[in-house]
Symmetry: C2
Subunit: 312 residues, 2 copies
């Protein structure tokens, strides 16, 4: 049946793996950082596979490589196959499967991480690998099978399939009461002119979310110069909790916030910004890896609950 695959030699798992690692990393150099030997080896292994299949798997693009259509297909094929073999191996040893979940950094922090134990349980005690990513590449990662699941904005997914709605991404402005003079109403505090003199904390992770907040502030005519520029929005929130700063946060990030000490108001300038967050998955993967629809639904439910439940 498969004589042609073996009759002339040249096809080995090592070679397939070498090619795949380049395909996943996007370049040979990134597939084997600081290892010139391995790099030259991968380069050669790719050539050997190209000879075997008699097809161009990569194309030079600038001084790095990109995948040809055939290469992209072969790469995702190999990923599936190695994944299946790995699942088999782990199963036989009684080890749990391992799933990859991708999301933007802030969603990971606030939505995914708190839900991780429950998600792992739903997936049969699986090992979970969380992968921070920009939403653009998330949809791609799912469709290529590099991630089993992703949590991202609905509008970042081309097709409307394999999607379950989670929560609406809204934004609030959080101001510690101690920064608000006596007698200032919610209405007054919601007005941009009131924000002018507040000390703000902002995330500066270069993510879309952070950029959107800055843009919205500019639109509202506020000269937004945060006193603290934190590495992540999670850190900004800590400053809010400490009563030191105000901050614009995604509504997701309110778990455990003390409403007596912190006034939480809708952040009008970004009213139209947030689309719904969804749980997205790769149908082909979940089917192959025996994750059934009810499990995925339960995962979505537990992600929704995570937001609603009071924090620890």
């Amino acid at each position: 049946m498969f004589e042609k695959l073996f009759s002339k030699g040249g096809l080995t798992l090592e070679r397939l793996r070498g090619f795949m690692s380049m395909a996943e990393a996007g370049s040979i150099a990134r597939a084997a950082p600081d290892d010139a030997n391995r790099q030259s080896q991968i380069s050669r292994q790719i050539r050997e596979l190209e000879e075997f299949f008699d097809v161009e798997l990569t194309r030079r693009k600038g001084r790095t490589l990109s995948l040809s259509p055939a290469g992209a297909r072969l790469a995702s094929l190999i990923r599936e196959q190695l994944q299946d073999l790995e699942d088999f191996r782990r199963d036989q040893r009684g080890l749990p499967k391992s799933f990859t979940i991708g999301a933007g950094a802030s969603v990971l922090e606030w939505l995914v991480v708190p839900a991780l134990p429950r998600l792992a349980e739903l997936l049969g005690g699986a090992t979970l690998l969380i992968q921070p990513m920009r939403s653009r590449s998330l949809a791609e990662a799912v469709s290529e099978g590099r991630a089993d699941f992703a949590i991202l904005r609905r509008d970042a997914i081309p097709a409307a399939k394999s999607v379950l709605p989670l929560v609406k991404l809204g934004f609030v402005i959080c101001i510690p009461e101690r920064l608000i003079p006596q007698g200032v109403s919610d209405r007054q505090a919601s007005h941009p002119s009131f924000w002018r003199d507040l000390p703000f904390a902002a995330g500066r992770d270069g993510g879309q979310l952070d950029l959107a907040i800055r843009a919205a502030m500019a639109d509202a005519g506020v000269d937004y110069r945060p006193r603290f520029e934190c590495g992540s929005i999670l850190q900004a929130r800590q400053l809010v909790d400490m009563g030191e700063c105000a901050a614009v946060l995604p509504a997701l990030g309110l778990r455990g916030m003390d409403r007596k000490r912190i006034r939480v108001l809708p952040f009008a300038p970004m009213k139209g910004y947030g689309r719904g967050l969804v749980l997205h998955w790769n149908e082909r993967q979940t089917r192959r890896r025996a994750v059934d629809a009810s499990t995925i639904q339960a995962m979505a439910r537990s992600l929704v609950l995570t937001v609603r439940e009071p924090g620890p």
Copy 2:
């Protein structure tokens, strides 16, 4: 990601292939007939895989081997993987895919073979491999992915999924006019007592079909001692065409029969016997190998037409 698969060595495509060939053949000896070297090699390759995965893949059963559950799973995994690699290879060379169709010997002869050119066309010019099999093992072959399609009796399939009805399997008795005295009506000729002195031709291929005919004759009180016992029912039909013998044939087998010279009557004793023939396929395979539902429907339709159309 897949370090564990490669860090200690021991996993190679050759070994996986060796194991799979044993799994498909049912024993090492049958996987490599008359090749003691290859046999010892396969035996060793299986052991090496067992060491790698740290699991028993085979069990001794008498003096031959059978698969453990893990072995069965691994074998079907490997088959899929090699199949995908082979599909990829052929695609890149512009070669057609190759599909396996299983059916009982008589169904193959009368239903499948005449439809083959059209089926191949529907499957994108695919190479078709036809595989004669008893119906019991057919359903199994499909579910294990050893066959992509099968044509078999509906009741031979456990689940009712991935099935399209084709034709009802009915039986007729065919009697050359020259063996029928003047003035004998259809009604008279349909009566078992009339058959007593006819020279019959029978297939004796040991298939269920042949056995069922013999049992039905016995039930009808006919001392059924065919004059000719042919190797296949197709040969029996030739004798009917020649005007030498009468025979009980499946209604499928009437294509091109000259109704002026041969009287064709329903064979009452087997009225309840025939269940519907269906086209059955492996959903997982067809999905993976990109055969869409409409193609399968078209295949079923063309198989039905094959029976209805006049023969060449």
